[in-house]
Amino acid sequence: MDSVRAILIVLRKELVDAMRDRRTLMTVLLSSVLLGPLVLVAVSSLVATLEVTAEKREVFVSQPADAPTLVNYFERQTFSVKSPPSDYEAQLRSARFGDPVVVVPKDFEAALVRGEGPVVEIVSDSANQRSQSSARRIERLLEGFSRERSTISLALRGVSLDLLEPVQLESRDLANAQSRATQFTGMLPFFVMMAVLYGALNAALDTTAGERERGSLEPLLMNPAERWALVVGKWGAVSGISMLIAVLSSLSFMPAQWLLRSDTLAALFRYGPLEALFFVVVLAPFAAALSALLMAVAIRCRTFKEAQASAAVVVLVVSLLPLVTVLNPGAEAPWQLWVPGLAQNALMTRVLKAEAFGWGAVLIPVAVCAVIALLGVWYVSRTLRSAALK
């Protein structure tokens, strides 16, 4: 029988079979496709609150009446001074209160006049993200106060102000708008890769270990179709489903960006049809390789459950990939293009940063994925017969 025809028959049957498994499909859609956009929206609302705090220009001082000079300075910097709630320490700890609190000693004014260097505390909770991000701002504000005091005292003693600032500081940020946004959107590639993985997982296990468990593999092999054609058909279906999830997952960030709560982030995060298309192009070979790999792992297992346990290793490795980039901050090394997963992560990050890259960067991962897919299909074809006999 014509092998191409056999491949198409198996492909069609496996696709129909997988599409009928509605519950699994819905779980994958909900967990993988929606999760990324949801996290993106959540991050944007965090950024938005930080922005609001920064814009509000508020500073909480525990006893403002004890430090009129400091309050005066704050107000001259157009900050409004507020009193924190009385149990602010407990509230900061439980993250119900999100602003650091400036605590001045009782005799602040007198000590200041005498030049005794009164201790001013900035109370925040390093486990409380919101208070932590504002603490640095308040710290700078207080440094400004100290500088002003010292400048005035020295100026009164006839010291030139130029001597006080021998070096002028000015910082220049080289990052373009999009690469700045990747601080927040850097985890998107990870989400789409997990979506691809979960898309392939169930179908890969069902067409191999599931088929063994049902006892339908042995009768299947009694058909006059080449074994490799059966495997290629199955692999095609698994990859197809995985790619479908990849497409949905990539597209899902487009509507998600309309929901972005932070204007800054929305302005920085440019994700249009072109970016989505590129994501899909990068992910397709990854989906194909991952499908073959999962099938090769699962064909050795007698039951679906056993296969799930074995596949957990693959899932774990893919989940831990982002750790490599965390442990190696800075530009990605050339070798990363040779590692599936890392390569896709690197390419998608470059797309998000709107960085240019050459054909080599695209072709190397495609070639690596093709080799893995080929080896996987070959291994499954080779193992199929002995697997059928339990």
């Binding site: 049957k13 339908s216 009694m222 058909n223 059928a388 339990k390």
Partner: protein, 282 residues
């Protein structure tokens, strides 16, 4: 027409993968599942492959399906050698193996049509054939139902229809009545009898079993296998005459386990070959 001659097959002992034993002798030990099995099953005849558990029946049928490579011997289906032209041989056979799993999310019709397509049939032809088979096995109401939740009998009928979808000239069944109730067994027997007749297509039907009554009621010809060898061939009457018995069970026990064996202690489960002779792949 199925012809088997001088078939032999051995498996590594102890579960196939070494069994963790460091003893070289043990690692090299092999279980001879099939020593010398030979028979021929002509067209228009129901041939029974009768033997105790572990006699090598399933191994023989798996070799016939090309799932296991024999160590020696010849297998031919309508003259097509299974080892040299496995696809041609498989296309002429409808096989219902021990494993008869269906796809639970597909309907009975889709399950049958899938195998039809894999056998090279056009879609309409496979669909038409599925309906004809549904009429034959009285399972028309099942056709559009998903096979999830089918009873044993319903599964069996679907699996049988699936195996016969390409209207093969040779039908091979491995313990087909396993798990079937009386009515389903009777229906299956009637179907097989009809398939043997010229109107049914004068099929060559080969089935393995360890149940005497089935052989007595159904088979035109019996091949008795034990300890991996063909020990007797003939009709039920011929085998009775050969052993000088009137009871077929008694005749079978003598043929399978030797004349010395008595009624007590010579049940199927306690045959000298034991269960180890069946292949046990890891």
């Amino acid at each position: 027409m199925i012809e088997v001659a001088g078939l032999a097959k051995s498996f590594p002992a102890g579960g196939g993968r070494g069994g963790g034993s460091s003893d070289a002798n043990r690692r090299n030990a092999r279980v001879q599942a099939v020593v010398d099995i030979g028979f021929s099953a002509p067209n228009g005849t129901i041939t029974g492959l009768l033997g105790p558990n572990g006699a090598g029946k399933t191994t023989t049928l798996r070799m016939l399906a090309g799932l296991i490579e024999p160590d020696a011997g010849r297998l031919a289906v309508d003259g097509f050698d299974v080892r040299r032209t496995p696809r041609a041989a498989l296309a002429r056979m409808g096989m219902l193996s021990d494993a008869r799993g269906l796809y639970p999310r597909l309907t009975a019709r889709e399950n049958i049509a899938y195998y039809g397509a894999l056998q090279g049939m056009r879609r309409e032809a496979a669909e038409a054939r599925a309906e004809a088979l549904a009429d034959m096995f009285e399972m028309r109401p099942l056709l559009e139902r998903r096979t999830e939740g089918f009873s044993q009998g319903e599964r069996m009928k679907t699996a049988l229809a699936r195996a016969l979808v390409h209207d093969p000239a040779n039908i091979v069944l491995d313990e087909p009545t396993n798990g079937l109730d009386v009515l389903a067994t009777r229906a299956l027997r009637d179907s097989l009898r009809w398939l043997r007749t010229p109107e049914g297509g004068s099929k060559c039907i080969l089935f393995s079993t360890h149940i005497m009554q089935e052989v007595e009621r159904l088979c035109d010809s019996v091949v008795v296998v034990a300890r991996g060898r063909t020990v007797a061939r003939g009709t039920v009457a011929e085998l009775l005459a050969q052993t000088g018995q009137t009871d077929f069970e008694e005749a079978f026990v003598r043929l399978a386990f030797g004349p010395a064996s008595t009624r007590i202690g010579s049940g199927h489960e306690s045959g000298p070959t034991g269960a180890a002779a069946e292949p046990a792949h890891g």
